[in-house]
Amino acid sequence: MAIAVVIVLFLAGCKKKSDDTPIPDTGHIAFKFTHLVDGVPLHQDTFCYVNAAGNHFEIDQLMYFISDVKLHKSDGSIQLIDDWKDIDYVDVNIPSTLMWDVFDPIPIGTYDSISFTFGISEAKNKSFMFVNPPEVNMMWPDVLGGGYHYMMMNGKWIDTLSIPQPFNFHLGIGQLYKHNVIEIDSIYAFVQNYFFVKLPSSAFTIEKDKTRQIEIIMNIDSWFKTPHIYDHNYWGGAIMQNQPAMQIVKENGFDVFTTGLIQ
């Protein structure tokens, strides 16, 4: 009896299953990140720039996150890039991060524009979300709101005494302090400083099985001039605990990004 049972079960075990699912027509998209100052590619570690406030400055490091990239169609539909990755890290010192080959298959068709979040939304910006370098190095202290920096732009400027001073032009979760006493115990609220960016002139088409490469340009000089003139001599070198300064950075961010080559 047991032998018969085993043989029946054994034979039953040799079935093979199959699954045929139709695959929609899609292409792919890739983003190339370029960084310009006054329309010229960034040169690091040299005092060759002057901002709108007249500060002579240099950029040494630039790291930032963009997230929740959306591709907009004229009919109002939106293709959100989030199949495998919804937060992208860019670091001018790590060439591999200057190109994002998006994993998501993108339905073929014409898209009107691209938008994204600069930084990380409140819902997603959680401590210990990243545990590996380089992203982990963007950690924002828990006592200051936690999560991760949206941007770290580190460099130097020549102060009013003609002495080079370091600046950490950092953007992340801001804090409100009781009686403007900048101490951890005085914090009574946090401010989300991420913002939305809509890339101008970013219409494109996706063709079947082809990859569309879109250049996203960060115009670094724009962080310092519109709509507010940002003066390092006024705000100083560290702004992580200076919400008014970060508010200006946030508001200046609206036109920092432009669209480059689409190919």
Binding site: M1, A2, I3, V5, V6, I7, L9, F10, G13, C14, K16, K17, D82, D83, W84, K85, D86, I87, S96, D101, F103, S127, F128, M129, F130, V131, N132, V136, N137, M139, P141, D142, V143, G146
Partner: protein, 692 residues
């Protein structure tokens, strides 16, 4: 309790153990342990390998998992100096059932399997090891790919009061390892050095310290009944695992059991065996001995308790020998991970669950029937398991209407069966065929683990509470020849088709992000359609009474998955995927063969033995797992055993005489690199055994 007699008491006192006895009417004669060379095929239609402690004592056994690798088609996953995890015919982890002392089960504490069950038992406590291949033996619990029975020494009855002691001292160069065994065992091994790699000695961080205590008390209420109460503790400290992200800071394991045996019953019921047990593992691991500790501290603490029992009835109805019974086990597991990161002068700490009061209950009923018709032996077995799992997890991973980790309760009824036939063509030759279906439910790790790098590949893993059981359909064919003058030989082939094979698939980082530094992302356990294993093994052993003799073994396993997703990696990120057809399964050992030659001198008291092991290249590797080819190697080992008298014995030898730099295919890579974890280079060892 008129017939209650004290059989044996082992006191766990330093450097001495005492055995005492009071009068028992029956005389029991204790024979010296007998060496059994490759007694592969017994009266079962599938392969069973039994090794007695005499055989184990020949070598420098630091770890049972290490020793098991000398058995055909048994290999092991090495991640450090100890805790080698056995692999039988490509089946591993919970696909193998490992029983201690006739049915005690241990749930390992470490999610990375630093502490497989074999690491919770000391070789010096072993009376014999039994390896049963395939899903055919169903009375030891759910059986899937094989069973490893670690039979520990039990108290023996004595006619009158007697005092006995046994002792062992061993030392091994290279590791500077030493072990002492009386009733207290202590082991202290340093880092080992491989053979010269590119002309240089390379030392690996593989040191470990272990000690254990064992106590057993036996009673004999009547002459055909016995009760044995056992208590065992084993403690590990600073056990280093260079292939894992953390080291074992401490591991404290307790095993307790009560056994009742009834023999020589008149009537249909011949024997009765009952066992109840509990094992309790407290495992603590961290990265305090790593460079990363300065900026990121990881500490994991896990408690795993397995409580259960079994009852087995042996009956005879005419020509039919029937074994039936039931077994139950309840596994409880709870563990936390604490991560502390230092950043910009501040400290952030996160505490999360690895398991949260997770439970698995399994109750099984089994029956086995054996009979003989003329030259044909038949064996049939069936087993039904009722499996229930639950957890107090609060994690929910739900996206797009799909639940990845939410509902934690699952219930399964698993049916397993096997049948075998042995045809004796003559007194010397027989042919056996075994067919079996073995089903196992997913284990604690596969169901409930949360974000630990526990696999072969570089990903954090997430459990899947809704996994289905996997089922192994296997066929074994074995031809055996045994002659008193010619020796014994066998050849075996097997084919296995595993349905609902538990594999893994990557989850998008938008869904869940890893928690382990250096990993590429998160994978979740899933069932895939099927995979296949096939292979063969052979062996020959010369007659035991020859002065000059030897043995040879060889084995090969091939595993494939018909279709699998390979994740494309650019830098440290997954950037795409592609489908691979007919890929190899990962961690399948290559073909290997071993030749042993011995010569008995001084009336058999002095026996030198030379062993040559040849292992082939492994090129059949998993593309999906980015598994690397491994080169073949050859090893020469030498041992000598000298029996001074009935109370004293010395074994000594040289392992890896040529100081070959080599690594097994299943050895994991050094964490955070593609560097290989080599095996130890040349080492000398000596063991002294006293038995009074």
């Amino acid at each position: 309790m008129r017939y209650l007699h004290l059989l044996t008491v082992l006191f766990t006192v330093p450097f001495f153990s005492v055995t005492s006895a009071q009068g028992i009417k029956d005389t029991t004669i204790h024979l010296s342990p007998v060496e059994i060379h490759d007694s592969i095929v017994k009266d079962k239609p599938f392969l069973i390998k039994t090794i007695r402690n005499e055989e184990i004592q020949k070598g420098a056994v630091r770890d049972i998992g290490d020793y098991l690798r000398s058995i055909p088609n048994v290999s092991g996953v090495r991640k450090g100096g100890a805790g080698i995890d056995p692999v039988v015919r490509g089946f591993k982890f919970s696909q193998l059932s490992v029983n201690v002392g006739g049915g005690l089960k241990v749930e390992n504490g470490c999610p990375n399997r630093m502490d497989p069950v074999t690491s919770h038992v000391e070789a010096e406590d072993i009376e014999s090891i039994e390896v049963l291949k395939g899903p055919f033996a169903l009375k030891y619990g759910p059986s899937f790919g094989g069973i490893i029975n670690l039979r520990t020494e039990n108290p023996h009855p004595f006619e009158k009061f007697e005092v006995h002691a046994n002792a062992m001292y061993g030392f091994e160069t290279n590791w500077n390892g030493q072990k002492e065994h009386l009733s207290v065992l202590g082991r202290n091994y340093g880092n080992y050095t491989s053979g010269k790699i590119e002309g240089k000695d390379t030392t690996f961080n593989t040191s470990f310290r272990k000690h254990n205590y064992t106590a057993k008390i036996g009673f004999s209420p009547t002459k055909n009944q016995s009760i044995i109460v056992s208590y065992d503790e084993i403690h590990g400290r600073d056990v280093l695992y260079p292939a894992l992200p953390m080291d074992e800071k401490s591991d404290d394991t307790r095993m307790m059991s009560v056994d009742y045996h009834l023999r020589h019953m008149p009537g249909k019921l011949k024997t009765l065996d009952i066992k109840i047990y509990q094992s309790d593992v407290n495992h603590n691991m961290d990265n305090s001995l790593r460079a990363t500790w300065a900026t990121k501290q990881m500490v994991s603490i896990v408690n795993a308790v397995n409580t259960g029992g079994r009852a087995e009835f042996g009956m005879q109805f005419s020509k039919f020998l029937i074994t039936t019974g039931l077994d139950v086990e309840n596994i409880y597991k709870d563990g936390t991970r604490t991560m502390t990161m230092q950043m910009m002068g501040t400290t952030s700490t996160k505490r999360s669950n690895l398991w949260k009061a997770a439970n698995i209950q399994n109750a099984g009923f089994f029956g086995e029937c054996k009979t003989t018709f003329s030259s044909i032996e038949l064996l049939g077995a069936i087993r039904v398991d009722f499996n229930n799992a639950d957890s107090k997890d609060t994690l929910k991973v739900i996206s797009g209407g799909i639940s990845y980790f939410d509902k934690t309760n699952s219930k399964f009824t698993n049916f397993s069966a096997s049948a075998g036939i042995t045809k004796k063509f003559s007194k010397k030759m027989k042919l056996s065929l075994a067919l079996g279906r073995g089903t196992r439910s997913p284990n604690m790790l596969e169901r409930f683990i949360k974000l630990m790098a526990v696999g072969y590949d570089n990903y954090d893993y997430l459990g899947n509470p809704q996994l289905k059981p996997e089922t192994n359909y296997e066929a074994d064919l074995t031809l055996t020849y045994s002659g008193s003058k010619t020796g014994s030989a066998y050849i075996n082939g097997f084919y296995s088709n595993v349905h609902d094979y538990i594999y893994s698939t990557m989850l998008p980082s938008t869904l869940i992000k890893p928690q382990t530094a250096g990993v590429l992302g998160v994978k979740q356990f899933v069932n895939v359609d099927y995979v296949t294993f096939m292979g063969f093994e052979f062996g020959y052993t010369s007659p035991a009474d020859l002065k000059f003799g030897g043995s040879t073994i060889g084995s090969f396993t091939y595993g494939r998955i018909p279709e699998v997703t390979k994740y494309l990696i650019t830098g440290t990120q997954v950037t795409g995927e592609t489908i691979i057809k007919d890929d190899a399964l990962s961690e399948i050992p290559p073909f290997e063969s071993t030749l042993n030659v011995f010569y008995k001198m001084v009336k058999g008291k002095l026996v030198p033995q030379l062993s040559i092991r040849a292992v082939a290249d492994q090129h059949h590797v998993s593309q999906a797992f980015y598994e690397q080819d491994t080169p073949g190697f050859g090893l020469i080992n030498f041992t000598v055993k000298y029996t001074v008298n009935k109370n004293m014995k010395v074994t000594a030898g040289i392992n890896n005489i040529l100081d070959k730099a080599y690594y097994e295919h299943l050895n994991r890579k050094i964490i955070g690199s593609t560097g290989n974890l080599y095996e130890p280079g040349r080492s000398f060892f000596v063991n002294l055994f006293l038995n009074i």
